[in-house]
Symmetry: C2
């Protein structure tokens, strides 16, 4: 794959820390001798999952949720961190039950994505869920999530929605469509 040797990490230092997040400064020497200091977020290493759930052959369920970074509501697919000891598939089942009140009998893995890998270790496995059955688990959201049904026939409207912008939700949707030949 990579044709070059990764840079040598000369030193790592925790330079800032909040209740939930840690920022690390990393001194690096590249294979050409060049030295730089980069900053990156220290990941939990837990990984995350996202699921495109189909309630029938042509209807997906999305959720609309407050996004503090943007300070607005955003439309996207159910998602969450993998709990310690869980497989990605188990986390996907749990998140579906917590966020939309369904389990699923069929879970198809689409791919694994990263997000700004210059700064983050965050890996997320994307799934498609079929054959849903009702089962609710309690979530930890401050308010009930709004569930939104969307037909495959109306995909162009979804792609044009100003609150459907998250790159991992878009990747999951577009890859699912490509796999279906749509």
């Amino acid at each position: 794959m990579a044709s070059r040797q990764v840079p040598k990490i000369l030193s790592r230092k925790l330079v800032a820390q909040s209740r939930l997040l840690k920022i690390e400064a990393v001194d690096l020497r590249f294979s050409n001798g060049e030295q730089r200091q980069f900053e990156r977020m220290q990941g939990s290493g837990r990984g995350a999952v996202m699921v495109v759930p189909f309630i029938d052959d042509e209807t997906m369920i999305l959720i609309r949720e407050y996004a503090a970074g943007m300070h607005e509501y955003q439309l996207g697919f159910p998602k969450g961190l993998i709990d310690p000891g869980e497989s990605p598939e188990e986390a996907a089942q749990r998140e579906l039950k917590e966020e939309i009140g369904f389990g699923c009998e069929s879970l198809e893995r689409l791919t694994e994505v990263t997000m700004a890998p210059q700064f983050f270790q965050a890996k997320m496995t994307l799934f498609v869920a079929n054959n849903l059955y009702p089962e609710q688990l309690p979530g930890d959201e401050p308010e009930p999530l709004e569930k939104v049904h969307w037909k495959l026939a109306d995909i162009d409207q979804l792609l044009a929605q100003p609150d459907f912008t998250e790159a991992r939700s878009l990747t999951a949707l577009l890859m699912m469509l490509r796999n279906k030949g749509l």
Copy 2:
């Protein structure tokens, strides 16, 4: 769009800061009265761009670059922050010249994406570039970027590449393919 009132911001506080990054704690009251503290990254508000450049009708140029968050080389499209005073289109032209040594005569806007909007304000405009012409601007990379040519006919291999995982690069690729009917 959003059917609910966004939560009221009761207070904001800078809780951690490094040379480049700032973490903010935000106390929120949701419309149902529930109060929570969320953490988010304080954005630069500058926005970013990413470009899918075509050197001919069937060949894209990608770059392979060290990604400190993952500590590995990653394949993706040229990208970067918008400089103060620049339009997204001007930033796209500059990044192409810095990262692959080409300007372009035609720039088609695909969409604007976000990344983990729970935590970030980061907005990135995705473009497709055609009719390239050679023009190099100096970049600030610690080592020369590896340029990788990829044929549209080999898209399935690109989607299966273990180092082509960034959700915004995947969104740009999949949306370009969808627009071309591929």
